[in-house]
């Protein structure tokens, strides 16, 4: 999987988790714009709170790898794609509305 800026936060598993599934999230950005930075920060906060140790965030800068935009049908920036668990979910925007983010990621149920 070609990536440019990989910020992996896969924490070593703690006491045997009930769900071994690791969330794979991909954040598409176009350069270090305020919006992208905001989005990443917002995402990290939510993930730390709800998915501690069970998630991976892959940040893809389309400025560097523009051809990747077609794969996930990226139009808007920033776009967050939840690749795992299935089904794939897509959220656009700077993720500032955390309630919506959680609904979009289907995170409430997990907790």
């Amino acid at each position: 999987m070609p990536t440019t800026k990989k910020k992996t936060r896969a924490r070593p598993r703690k006491s045997a988790p009930r769900k071994p599934v690791v969330w794979k999230l991909r954040l598409y950005v176009a350069g270090q714009t305020p919006k992208s930075i905001r989005a990443f920060a917002n995402l990290k906060v939510q993930c730390e709170e709800h998915l501690k140790g069970r998630y991976q965030i892959e940040v893809i800068d389309l400025r560097v790898n523009p051809q990747l935009a077609r794969g996930d049908q990226i139009v808007a920036i920033p776009t967050l794609v939840r690749r795992l668990p299935r089904p794939i979910r897509t959220i656009i925007g700077d993720l500032s509305n955390s309630a919506r983010l959680l609904v979009g990621l289907d995170l409430r149920k997990v907790d």
């Binding site: 176009a30 077609r70 920036i77 656009i92 509305n97 955390s98 979009g104």
Partner: protein, 651 residues
């Protein structure tokens, strides 16, 4: 009287007040020419109102027509310098004066099925193949395999162009159901995708089909609008000639989400309308900043070669005028046309009421052309080829051998099969592929079934121009309703060089055909009506009888001729007898003269005799007296004197 207000006043679209005024002026003119105008006025006013409503959106759109006009006026002198990108779409470049504005976005708007996607795609394909300008197609609706399949039927091989790196097709699909929105976003992703695609093929042209689909898929329209505006500006900055398609869902608006306000350079409207169950496609350039352009609605069609727009004046009036003549196939008709027939490359109208022999005249002409080993093309809009061949055989014209030899081709189809534009295009295609020197269109009036008079006229104008540039002699037949003989149904007479009028003359309880040459440009032609006979061995033209009782034809003419013959015989006999009488009189006179002379001679003889006798007698007396004197010697000379004096006194 039906007047199509829209065509009559097509110049004025913006100002309803001016429009109404000009309609009033027009009606006044009409009423002066054609009598009372009450119902026309009502109808026209209604039309004007409708038209005003119709043109209102145009006024509102595009930041106002006034402003547009000003801009247009201001930039008129530089219109030559405005660079244009040829579309390669047949006819469109002529209307736009060279193509779409280069390096600027053009909005192509139209309803569902108007041909927007095809327009965009053809723009790219033609650009890539004909003008070596690679292109990028961003599809927001159709997937790439669908798109490829759809346009393959039009002869566009997208796959090959893509592998040749002349075209890049990208499908942008967003599933709303999988999408959530949390906060601000921008369309940088799309920008990047387009930029990447452009860079990959070195594109000069971009098509966004239909970008408004994003409104349905992405939340927050205000952000989207701002982003789309930014996108257009960005495309312009990059110098990409862009076609943006947009769906038109309401006649008042050009686009569903009003993106036309971002595209200020060129707006083209595609329309697919159904009139009386027959569809016609129309194209109109709503605006074109910095350039003059055709303002009319132009019919266009989509066939296996893509889009063809048919501008009315695409060919102009600069065709050749050959002085060569071609025979009409009827000797007597040639005689009526200065003895030589039609001009080559001229257009001939044979109009007449039903059953006057229009098709027959056309068939004669075709037959004559085939005899000269020329190719002929027969467009039959009413009869099947077999029927025509059979019918013509009944008058001794056998067209079958020509068909078998390949000199004669029939193209028979009801015009209702497609719209009028389709008919025109088909005619063009058949003519181009067959290259005939003679064409028959039988009858043009059938075209009115599928269209309005204006459309038929404009179609025929284009057809006539086309045929003339090709130097093809053409006979159009036209069915006229009884009564208005000299008004050709589609008002096409002014397009025609020669007009043969056929009519039925009713005399003595029978109908007979008559033909005359109503006009024939540039040649001496007969002003006579000829009787037109269909016999077992072809057409014959006879002089009609013009007598005190008017024009006589058929059996009336025959009986009149008999009557005339009788009169002539009678006169001859009378003359003969007069002559004989004269002779007789002369003879009597001569006989009398002989007798008189004889009598005279007899008398003369007698008189002569008497004269000579009396002369003799006189001489004898004198001699006798002398002798007596001599013998008597009685008188002296004095006695003689006395006697003389006495005689003088007595006198």
């Amino acid at each position: 009287m039906l007047v199509d207000i829209r065509t009559e006043f097509s110049v004025i679209t913006a100002n309803p007040r001016i429009l109404v005024e000009s309609i009033a002026a027009f009606l006044e003119k009409q009423s002066m020419m054609k009598g009372p105008s009450g119902p026309h006025l009502v109808r026209a006013t209604r039309e004007a109102g409708r038209w005003r409503r119709h043109c209102q959106p145009t006024v509102e759109h595009g930041a106002g027509m006034k402003q547009m006009r000003q801009v247009k006026k201001a930039s008129q002198p530089s219109s030559k310098t405005l660079p244009k990108a040829a579309t390669g779409i047949q006819g469109l470049d002529e209307i736009t004066g060279g193509g779409l504005p280069r390096g600027r976005p053009t909005l192509v708007s139209g309803g569902a099925g108007a041909g927007k996607t095809l327009f965009g795609l053809e723009f790219l394909v033609r650009g890539a193949t004909q003008y070596s300008e690679p292109g990028v197609f961003m599809s927001f609706e159709e997937s790439i395999p669908d798109l490829t399949k759809n346009v393959a039927s039009l002869g566009f091989d997208l796959d090959r162009l893509v592998t040749d790196k002349k075209l890049f097709v990208d499908h942008v699909s967003i599933m709303r159901s999988e999408l959530g929105e949390t906060g601000e976003y921008d369309l940088e992703g799309l920008f990047i995708r387009i930029a990447d695609a452009v860079q990959r093929v070195g594109a000069r042209r971009v098509v966004l089909d239909t970008i408004e689909a994003l409104f349905g898929e992405l939340p927050n329209p205000s952000i989207l609008r701002a982003e789309i505006r930014r996108l257009f500006n960005w495309l312009k900055q990059k110098g990409l000639t862009t076609v943006i398609t947009a769906e038109r869902d309401h006649p008042d608006r050009l686009t569903r989400h009003g993106i036309e306000e971002f595209v200020s350079d060129c707006v083209i409207l595609l329309d697919h309308r159904i009139r009386e169950e027959i569809s016609t496609r129309r194209l109109r350039i709503v605006k074109y900043r910095g350039s003059t352009h055709g303002t009319n609605e132009y019919p266009f069609l989509i066939d296996d070669q893509g889009i063809s727009v048919l501008p009315i004046s695409s060919l102009g009036l600069d065709h050749d005028a050959p002085a060569k003549r071609v025979s009409s196939g009827i000797a007597r008709l040639d005689g009526m046309l200065g003895g030589k027939g039609f001009y080559q490359g001229s257009s001939i109208l044979a109009s007449g009421t039903a059953g006057t022999g229009k098709t027959t005249i056309a068939a004669c002409f075709v037959d004559a052309a085939c005899r000269r080993a020329e190719r002929a093309l027969f467009f039959a809009f009413e009869e099947s080829p077999r029927q025509i061949v059979r019918n013509m055989r009944s008058i001794g014209i056998d067209l079958d051998p020509w068909v078998r030899k390949g000199l004669l081709q029939f193209h028979a189809a009801r015009p209702t099969y497609g719209g009028i534009e389709q008919v025109l295009l088909l005619t063009h295609k058949r003519i181009t592929s067959f290259q005939p020197s003679v064409v028959v269109v039988d009858p043009v009036t059938n075209l009115l079934m599928v269209s309005t008079q204006n459309e038929v006229r404009s179609m025929l104008t284009r057809l006539v121009d086309f045929l003339k540039t090709q130097g093809i002699t053409t006979i159009f037949t036209s069915l006229t309703a009884a009564g208005a003989l000299e008004a050709s149904e589609a008002d096409v007479s002014s397009l025609m060089d020669t007009w043969l009028l056929l009519k039925n003359i009713e005399v003595g309880g029978e109908r007979n055909r008559a033909l005359y040459v109503l006009k024939s440009r540039g040649m001496e032609h007969s002003n006579q009506i000829r009787e037109f006979l269909l016999t077992d061995d072809g057409l014959r033209l006879l002089d009609v009888y013009l007598g005190a009782e008017g024009v006589l034809t058929g059996s009336a003419r025959v009986s009149q001729e008999m009557r005339e013959k009788a009169v002539v015989t009678f006169r001859r006999q009378e003359l003969e007898s007069r002559r004989r009488e004269l002779e007789r009189k002369r003879r009597i006179f001569e006989a009398r003269m002989v007798m008189l002379r004889a009598e005279f001679e007899v008398e003369e003889e007698v008189i002569q005799q008497t004269i000579s006798e009396s002369e003799l007698l006189g001489e004898e007396v004198v001699q006798d007296r002398g002798q007596m004197v001599l013998s008597r010697q009685a008188d002296s000379s004095s006695y003689k004197k006395d006697v003389r004096a006495k005689a003088a006194r007595k006198r």
